[in-house]
Symmetry: C3
Subunit: 331 residues, 3 copies
């Protein structure tokens, strides 16, 4: 790909050689002549001047050029975001479909879009529908009636339970389990034994979602668990049955969300947070690492930060910590 194509894609202004051939990306220190790199701040101008990258993205602070720079320069408004978008753009252009591998087991009733790839040892059930250009990596299992949109990537060893629906441009990392049975049982009070309550709903995942390695996301008991467009889940996140996750929600590693809770859009959930059942986290709230939200609780939104178990406004929590430390020192 030529540097000018990248500049055009980013609506950036190119300074230098527009015909540079760019095939990869790297940090400023490691970039070679076919790599794209970026600087976020004027203080890195010196370093950029000495780099070997083929092209460098920079902000308006570099609009006058970079002394010593032999690379092509592309001026954009937000270099970090532009770099992210450009690398995805380059990667997409280099991707070629590999077709259906001879060891894949694909049911005759499955419908595969144009240029779909199904890698080795994957298993595709009855009436599965997979959109154009989607890649199902090695060792995946898609049970009956699953629908996957276009331009998705299931990296490897992903399991998708029956009836799960996945949008477009969704990335699912290795070992993730989508649409597993929720944890619901009816107790026989006479014997103490638990009978499985039917988990026969489904899971719906919107466009542009990314799901980390070894996540587990349960189907609904009777209706649908929903993960809206743009949500990003880190590794080993657990999402219980009937949970509703809003647009652009970010959830860090090892957080868990119990049944029927609602996470409104733009919420940020840090690592190892625990959210009990029937909770509502309002739009834009931020839950600090390891905090715990008890059952049926509502957490205020609007950028408020919460910490501790039970989760409380961070200022309150820090005051309590300070008061406790003083109290302990008194004796």
């Amino acid at each position: 790909m030529q540097a000018q194509q990248i500049a055009d894609f980013l609506s950036g202004r190119l300074i230098g050689n527009p015909a540079r051939d760019i095939t990869g990306a790297a940090s400023l220190l490691k970039a070679g002549p076919a790599d794209l790199s970026f600087i976020e701040d004027a203080k890195y101008l010196d370093r950029a001047g000495q780099c070997r990258a083929g092209a460098v993205l920079a902000g308006q602070f570099a609009a006058g050029g970079v002394p010593g720079l032999e690379s092509t320069l592309i001026i954009v408004n937000t270099p970090r975001l532009a770099f992210a978008r450009a690398v995805a753009f380059i990667a997409d252009s280099g991707r070629t479909p590999s077709g259906v591998h001879s060891t894949a087991v694909v049911d005759a009733s499955a419908q595969l879009g144009a240029q779909v790839s199904i890698d080795a040892h994957s298993v595709i059930g009855r009436h599965v529908r997979i959109g154009a250009r989607t890649r199902v990596g090695p060792g995946c299992v898609l049970f009956d009636d699953v629908e996957i949109g276009e331009d998705c990537e299931l990296i490897a060893r992903v399991t998708v339970y029956s009836k799960t629906r996945v949008g477009h441009r969704v990335v699912v990392h290795a070992g993730a389990v989508l649409g597993s049975d929720g944890f619901g049982f009816a107790k026989d009070e006479q014997t103490g034994a638990y009978y499985k309550f039917p988990q026969i709903g489904r899971l719906e995942i919107g466009d542009d979602v990314e799901i980390g390695a070894n996540c587990t996301i349960d189907r609904a008991a009777l209706d649908a668990t929903v993960i809206a467009a743009g949500a990003k889940l880190d590794n080993m996140v657990h999402v219980g049955h009937n949970v509703q996750i809003g647009r652009n929600v970010v959830i860090s590693a090892q957080a868990g969300i119990a049944g029927s809770s609602v996470i409104e859009q733009n919420v940020v959930v840090a690592g190892q947070v625990g959210i009990a059942d029937h909770v509502r986290i309002e739009e834009g709230a931020i839950l600090g690492a390891q905090c715990g939200v008890p059952s049926h609780k509502v957490i205020r939104g609007n950028g408020a930060i919460f910490w501790g178990t039970p989760a409380r406004p961070i200022r309150e929590y820090l005051k309590e910590l300070a008061a406790l430390a003083r109290l302990a020192k008194k004796r």
Copy 2:
């Protein structure tokens, strides 16, 4: 299946058409004419009267009939429990064995019971024994000398280490790992290096256990890790080596139990709870979400609820939280 068969199975009393054909189940709102549904309380009688379900389970409160209901009515004592049992009953009747898939790799010494299914790309080791009607889903690995009972389901991509024994009617969800090596090392004090302490015991799982997606359950170092009959584990639960889990214990997602701890029967462990090594949780105790039980500690049973780290009786913990909040406000 006819409605009368379900009523007979549940020892319920049928009102209406006994010959209704029932093939599925759904919530009252979504149920169609071939679905079973249920209501738990008289306040839903109106809604039931308008539903399109083929058959509805209800309690004695509906013994006089439901105005407007065209569905068949089945009167039982505990509608929720009855619904759970009936759905399993319907599902069992619809299940047909699929045999050994041509891509499965089954050692010649393995013994498969009647109507066992081994799905695509599964691997069955030497001297494995699998009971009648058990289904091993796609991509599972059963190492040598594993024993699985009758009517089990390993959904997909389950790994079972050698010598693990699993009872009857056990369900294991995708990505679970049964019988992995425990975490035990002997330190060479001279070099600081750790040598693996032998993890050569086994894992035993009783009847009617359910194990969630991506759980990890370690074999014992030398003897046996035991999960007794009727225990239910949610997703991503970790069970260390030599742990003993009693009958009908319920463990929610992301809880972890370290080596040699004993969880007596009927204990309830909420999400993200951490139980250290050599702990005893007495019969019927309830551990609140995210609480932590330190090494060698004994937790009283009989329905007592514990919370916090270190776990303490919930009344005590709530009093401490309140006292701390007051203290912090004073300044």
Copy 3:
């Protein structure tokens, strides 16, 4: 293997029959005539005298012999460590390579060392290099350009992302994911949408590392995530991008380490600990179960123990707990 060979390997002193045939290992109570066992303390001498083991390891306390013992006795300095080393020695001698299974999919450009085993349904990408005697168990996926050293074991269903490098004698348990994408996004402030920040670095794992079942270890964004030699990770440990883990670090189950943190050598991390991003845990520190270390914090080393969230010296934390309990009781 003869008892004398084990004694020689351990530099121990043999008392009794040097020609005993030893093929396994077990606890004193369960050991049979072909098993090795051990006692750590003189108080078990009686029990040892009655055991049926083929050979027993014991400390200098047994140098005068064990009354009644018919087993061969091997006197060593540290019986527990010697037992660990001996069992590994016996297991290694019994291992035979099984070659490349007919269902494995191995790219023609992959380089396999002598006596490498690739089990059923594994997938080996382009330019992968695997060292001598390494075993890749069933259902593993190794993407392009992965390098694995000698004498490693990937037990089953392990996924290794491209460019990951693994040292010698590394053991990886079932379901682990090595080198997955880190969790990094650039936010478009205008739309609220997140764009994936490139995760194009790699993961490097040193010699003698053990990685538990269903762990997830992310590659670096641009450079390398590093796990140094001798580190031991329990099940379901999460390691974020760019993390550096030192030699002989021990990390218990369900702990998580966020991006760019540094864990110096000989640190011990207990179960469910959460370490935020850009943290430094100094050499030899011990983090108690479930504790939490906030972003950018430095934790003092030298055997100091920390507990609580935010993590503080354990003495301080215990004093605070005591003070709080007293305060709550006052009312």
